[in-house]
Chain length 243, copies 2
DNA sequence: CTCATATTTTAGGTACTCCAAAAATAGCAT
DNA sequence: ATGCTATTTTTGGAGTACCTAAAATATGAG
């Protein structure tokens, strides 16, 4: 029947696809962590992937041998061009799949991350292309994150957390963090806090307190933690002029 | 991110899903082989899976320990109820996915087997259900094979190879064997030999020679090998009565 | 220079494979 | 029925890809 291992078993192996779940996931993790701070240390990867540091070290050594990362002992790793390419490829898969599950199969935005995290490693390039085509070559995933292009280019959006805004500011939701937190996603959807929504800050309680926002003419009070996960871009304050 | 191994790593493991690529594929292979002859021997499995007999023996021992097969040394294996359930589940996934790739994403029937062979192991029950629903709960896959129900019931179709028919007989194509042979599938499609098509045998050359069939008013000559892969049911000879 | 902390190394485990040697069975001749 | 060979199956040893746990070592703060 299958044999995903066909290329790796025995001695020769490694045709052109240096794929495999684990490798791809490490590269993806490193890519994400590098966006926050570079180089990426062993312990940050271990924490993110929920494995022990020793496991990370040995995987890093493998990745370095495959020229997917640059590795300096006791210092950290950075992705090589080849490693970046793989990471972006996987992220493209992930985000296309999330959107497809919602658009084509009726899933909700809190249900798709887990399944996408598995499928991202096993779809062929042809299937990726068909999915992209079926979705009309979308730019953003359901959580507002940009989908890298087939060529491996990702246009990241400049945004700031909702929690950083002051009263009176109008903003549009760009994307949400923690898309693996289903419970939070359900809560956000309930409040109408989804990408594209426009809101205005009414009140900000001090000391990381709750903020009051107006959205769709409704006033909502949300906690600081949630507000930190919602990334927004500022909108010009409105005051629609009557003609 | 992911961690398909989350449940198996370390010591405890095995929540409810005794899944995993290899195990599922062995069970599927055994199921298929058991339809031809039971018990299923080590060497038949080895040949079907293209691994060495020694590998099969050790996997069989594992499966037996998991109560997925009954194993008698030097004799053969049969699936237990639990093993049958897993096999049918995987076959259901496979066939639903093949159909979905064609119906929803525009693949052709010669392109889907390989991708389905991988995806079958990684779709959740929820995704399976959504795919089935999107296809309106289909009974047959694109190659004419029955799709087992969610409860694990498969209604197999009584059919005989086209190559077994005599001249003059009319028949309807039920399904084709070797759905992993893309080249053959493309050739069959070209000739119009797809499930549901009705044809009439015009001539049969002796000694496993070619047969001439009429299909869609066209006369076609096909080799014995191909004809053996096309499974048909007999149709009453027609002679449409003019009113 | 010393020590806490992060990191790497080492050793050991599971899953899956291959190869080669040993054991069991089956086919067949007598 | 008995024995012998050809075939199949099992066993044992090994290798890769993960992982953990625990011991050894590098780093940099004070
Ligand atoms: Mn996601
Ligand atoms: Mn993943
Ligand atoms: Mn198939
Ligand atoms: Mn498979």
């Amino acid at each position: 029947m299958p044999k995903i291992n066909a290329l790796e078993t025995g001695s020769s192996e490694q045709r052109n696809s240096l794929n495999h779940q684990a490798i791809e996931d490490y590269l993806k993790t490193i890519y994400m962590l590098a966006m926050e701070e570079t180089p990426v240390t062993t312990s940050r990867i271990a924490e993110a992937r929920d494995v022990k540091p020793g496991s990370v070290t040995s995987m890093i050594q493998r990745l370095a041998k495959l020229h997917l990362v640059n590795y300096e002992k006791h210092y950290g790793v950075t992705l090589t061009d080849a490693g970046t390419k793989v990471a972006l490829e996987v992220i493209r898969h992930h985000r296309l799949i999330e959107l497809f599950l919602i658009e084509a199969l009726g899933f909700t935005w809190d249900e798709v991350h887990e399944q996408a995290d598995i499928l991202e490693h096993v779809i062929s390039e042809k299937l990726e292309e068909r999915i992209a085509a079926a979705l009309n070559y979308p730019q953003f995933d359901p959580h507002g994150n940009p989908i890298p292009s087939r060529e491996g280019v990702m246009h990241s959006v400049e945004a700031e957390p909702l929690s950083a805004l002051a009263a009176g500011v109008r903003a549009r939701i760009a994307y949400v963090l923690n898309d693996e937190n289903s419970e939070m996603l359900r809560y956000l959807a309930e409040l109408g806090l989804t990408p594209g929504a426009v809101l205005e800050i009414k009140q900000v309680a001090p000391f990381a307190g709750p903020l009051t926002v107006e959205i769709e003419k409704e006033s909502r009070v949300i906690g600081h933690t949630i507000a930190s996960a919602v990334m927004v871009t500022r909108e010009p304050a409105d005051e629609p002029v009557a003609p």
